[in-house]
C-alpha cells in the first residue's frame, strides 16, 4: 500500500521554503554592500 500524499500541503510548504531562501539571498546581498559601505 502506497502512502497517500497531499500535494496542496507540499506546495504550500514549498512556498514558505522559497520565501525563506529569497530572504537569505537578499540578506547576503545587503550584508555585503553594507559591509563595504561601512569599510569606506
Amino acid at each position: 500500500m502506497i502512502e497517500q500524499r497531499d500535494i496542496a500541503k507540499q506546495r504550500s510548504r514549498a512556498v514558505v521554503t522559497a520565501w525563506i531562501l529569497a530572504a537569505v539571498a537578499a540578506g547576503i546581498f545587503a550584508a555585503y554592500v553594507l559591509a563595504a559601505v561601512l569599510a569606506q
Binding site: 502512502e3 500535494i7 496542496a8 514549498a14 537578499a26 554592500v33 569606506q40
Partner: protein, 548 residues
C-alpha cells in the same frame, strides 16, 4: 508568491487519468511563453543554452583564429579582449549554468516522484529573464564604447574604463543572477518538499543530490556577485570609491569579493556534472553506484571547502605569509573528496558488465579528462609555483579541462542519456559516436598544448605572441576548429532525434537504467507523477539500503 491557483490546479488533476494529463496548451504562446510546465521550461532552458553554446563558441573561434599565428591578422586587440571577456560570460552564464537548470527542471520532478517543480510560475519567470539579460549583454558589442574588455572577472580599475555600455553589463549580470537564484530556490523548494512518500533524502539519485547542494551554493554566492558588480556600477557612474585607492578604496577588495563568489561558482558548474556521471556510469556498468553515501558526503565536503579557498586565485596580489599558506592547504584538501569521487566511479565500473553507448563514452571521457584538469589544479594550489603558473596558458588549459571535457561533456552525456526519454525516439547512435570521437580527440588537441604554452611563459589574454609560441598555438587552433565544427553534428543529432527519428524508445530505454524517471512512459506525460510512485529496489537507483 501566491500559489493558490497552481495549488488547486495540481490538486484537481490528482487522481485523473493519464491521458487527461497530456492536455498541453495548444497555442504557441500559451505553450512556450506562458508555460509553467517543468518539461517545457526545461526544454526552453536547454535550447537557449545550446544557442548560447554556439554563440560563445563562435567567439572562441574568433579568438583561436587570431591566435592561429603570430602577428595580428583579423581583429584589433581591444576587440580581441571583448571577445575573450564575452566568450567567458556567455559560456558561464548563458550556456553552462542555464543548461544545468534545464536538466534540473526536466529531471528533478521525474527523479523524486513529483508532478512538477514546486513553484511553476516563478520557474517561467526565471527562464524568461535570461534571453533579455543575454540580449542586453550582447548588445554592448554594438555600442560606441564597445563591450566589456576587462575579462569576465571585471577587475577594477580596468573594468571602470569601459564606457557607458558598462551599465548594461552590470544589469545583465544582475538579471542573470536573479534568474539563477530563482532557479536555485525552486530546486531547493522542490527537493525539500515535493518528494514522493518514501523517497527519503538518502534514497535520492546523485543528480538530485548534487543539484540540491549546487542550489545552496548559488543562493549563497550569487548575491555576493550582485553586490560586487553593484559597487562597480556606483564607482563608475556615481562617484563612489569602493575600489578606487585614490578615494580610500581598495581594488584588491573587489578581487576578494569576486572570488568569494567565483570559486563556489566553479563548483556550481561542475557538481551537477558529477551527478549526471554518477547516474550514467552505473546504468551502463549494470551495477549500482559504488559508495553512494560517500559520494553524497564528498559532494557536500567539496561545496563546503569551496567557500574557504577563494584567495588561491590571488596568490600574486600580495598576501601575508599565513594567508598564502592557509589558502594553499585548504585548496589542496579539495583533492581528497574529489579523489573519492573519481575512485568511486572507477570502482563502479570495476567488475560491471559494461556497454559503451554514446552517453557512457562521454561519461568515461569526463572521468579521465576531468581528472587531468583536477591534477593540474592540484599543481596550481602550490602557492609559490603559482607565482609562475598564474595568468598563463597553463591556467587556461586547467580550467578548460574541467569545464569543457568536464562540465560540457557531462552535459552532452546527459543529453544523449535522457534524449530518448524526453522525445520517445532513439537518437542516431552512429552519429552520436562520431560526435563523441571527434570531440574527444579534438578537445585534447585544443587544450593539451596550452599546458606547454603556459609553462614556456605565454601569458593569457594576449591577442598576439612571440614566435617561440607559434607551433603549439597553431596546433591548438586546429584542434579548436575541429572541436567547433564537431558540435554542429551534436545539433544535427538532436534535431534528427526530435523531428525525424522513427525508432521508438522503450520506457526503460537503457537495459541497466534504474530510477523513477524510467518507469514513466517515453516521452513522459505532461505532468510527471500525480500519483506517488512505488519506492522500492527497482525504482531507487543507488541507495545503499536497496542495493543488495
Amino acid at each position: 508568491m501566491a500559489n493558490e491557483h497552481t495549488d488547486t490546479h495540481a490538486s484537481t488533476h490528482e487522481g485523473a487519468h493519464d491521458d487527461h494529463h497530456d492536455h498541453k496548451p495548444t497555442g504557441f504562446l500559451d505553450r512556450w511563453l506562458f508555460t509553467t510546465n517543468h518539461k517545457d521550461i526545461g526544454t526552453l532552458y536547454l535550447m537557449f543554452s545550446l544557442m548560447m553554446f554556439l554563440t560563445g563558441g563562435l567567439m572562441a573561434m574568433i579568438i583561436r583564429a587570431e591566435l592561429f599565428m603570430p602577428g595580428l591578422q583579423l581583429v584589433e586587440p581591444d576587440f580581441f579582449n571583448q571577445m575573450s571577456t564575452m566568450h567567458a560570460l556567455i559560456m558561464i552564464f548563458g550556456a553552462v549554468m542555464p543548461a544545468w537548470v534545464g536538466f534540473a527542471n526536466w529531471m528533478i520532478p521525474m527523479m523524486i516522484g513529483a508532478p512538477d517543480m514546486a513553484l511553476p510560475r516563478m520557474n517561467n519567470w526565471s527562464f524568461w529573464i535570461l534571453p533579455f539579460a543575454v540580449t542586453m549583454l550582447l548588445s554592448t558589442l554594438f555600442m560606441d564604447s564597445g563591450g566589456p574588455a576587462s575579462g569576465w572577472t571585471l577587475y577594477p580599475p580596468l573594468s571602470l574604463q569601459t564606457g557607458d555600455s558598462f551599465a548594461f553589463v552590470v544589469f545583465a549580470v544582475h538579471m542573470m543572477g536573479i534568474s539563477s537564484i530563482m532557479g536555485a530556490i525552486n530546486v531547493i523548494a522542490t527537493v525539500m518538499n515535493m518528494r514522493a512518500p518514501g523517497m527519503t533524502l538518502l534514497r535520492m539519485p546523485m543528480f538530485v543530490w548534487t543539484w540540491l547542494i549546487t542550489a545552496f551554493l548559488l543562493i549563497a554566492v550569487m548575491p555576493v556577485l550582485a553586490g560586487a558588480v553593484t559597487m562597480l556600477l556606483t564607482d563608475h557612474f556615481f562617484g563612489t570609491s569602493f575600489f578606487n585607492a585614490a578615494g580610500g578604496g581598495d581594488p584588491v577588495m573587489y578581487q576578494h569579493i569576486f572570488w568569494f563568489f567565483g570559486h563556489p561558482e566553479v563548483y556550481i558548474m561542475i557538481l551537477p556534472a558529477f551527478g549526471i556521471v554518477s547516474e550514467i556510469i552505473p546504468t551502463f556498468a549494470r551495477k549500482p553506484l559504488f559508495g553512494y553515501a560517500a559520494m553524497v558526503y564528498a559532494t557536500a565536503s567539496i561545496a563546503f571547502l569551496s567557500f574557504i579557498v577563494w584567495a588561491h586565485h590571488m596568490f600574486t596580489v600580495g598576501m601575508p605569509l599565513t594567508g598564502e599558506l592557509f589558502f594553499m592547504y585548504a585548496t589542496m584538501l579539495i583533492a581528497v573528496p574529489t579523489g573519492v569521487k573519481v575512485f568511486n566511479w572507477v570502482s563502479t565500473m570495476w567488475r560491471g558488465a559494461m556497454t559503451f553507448e554514446t552517453p557512457m563514452l562521454f561519461a568515461i571521457a569526463f572521468v579521465i579528462l576531468f581528472t587531468i584538469g583536477g591534477l593540474s589544479g592540484l599543481m596550481l594550489a602550490l602557492a609559490s609555483v603559482d607565482l609562475q603558473y598564474h595568468d598563463t596558458y597553463f591556467v587556461v588549459a586547467h580550467f578548460h579541462y574541467v569545464l569543457v571535457p568536464g562540465a560540457v561533456f557531462a552535459l552532452m552525456a546527459g543529453t544523449y542519456y535522457w534524449l530518448p526519454k524526453w522525445t520517445g525516439h532513439m537518437y542516431s547512435e552512429r552519429w552520436g559516436k562520431i560526435h563523441f570521437w571527434l570531440s574527444a580527440i579534438s578537445v585534447n588537441v585544443l587544450f593539451f598544448p596550452q599546458h606547454y604554452l603556459g609553462l614556456a611563459g605565454m601569458p593569457r589574454r594576449i591577442p598576439d605572441y612571440s614566435v617561440q609560441f607559434a607551433d603549439f598555438n597553431m596546433i591548438s587552433s586546429i584542434g579548436g576548429f575541429v572541436f567547433g565544427a564537431s558540435q554542429l553534428i551534436f545539433v544535427g543529432v538532436i534535431l534528427h532525434c526530435v523531428f525525424k527519428s522513427r525508432q521508438a524508445a522503450s520506457d526503460q530505454v537503457w537495459e541497466g537504467a534504474r530510477g523513477l524517471e524510467w518507469i514513466l512512459s517515453s516521452p513522459p506525460p505532461y505532468h510527471s507523477f500525480n500519483e506517488p510512485p512505488p519506492i522500492n529496489s527497482s525504482t531507487v537507483a543507488h541507495a545503499d539500503e536497496y542495493a543488495h
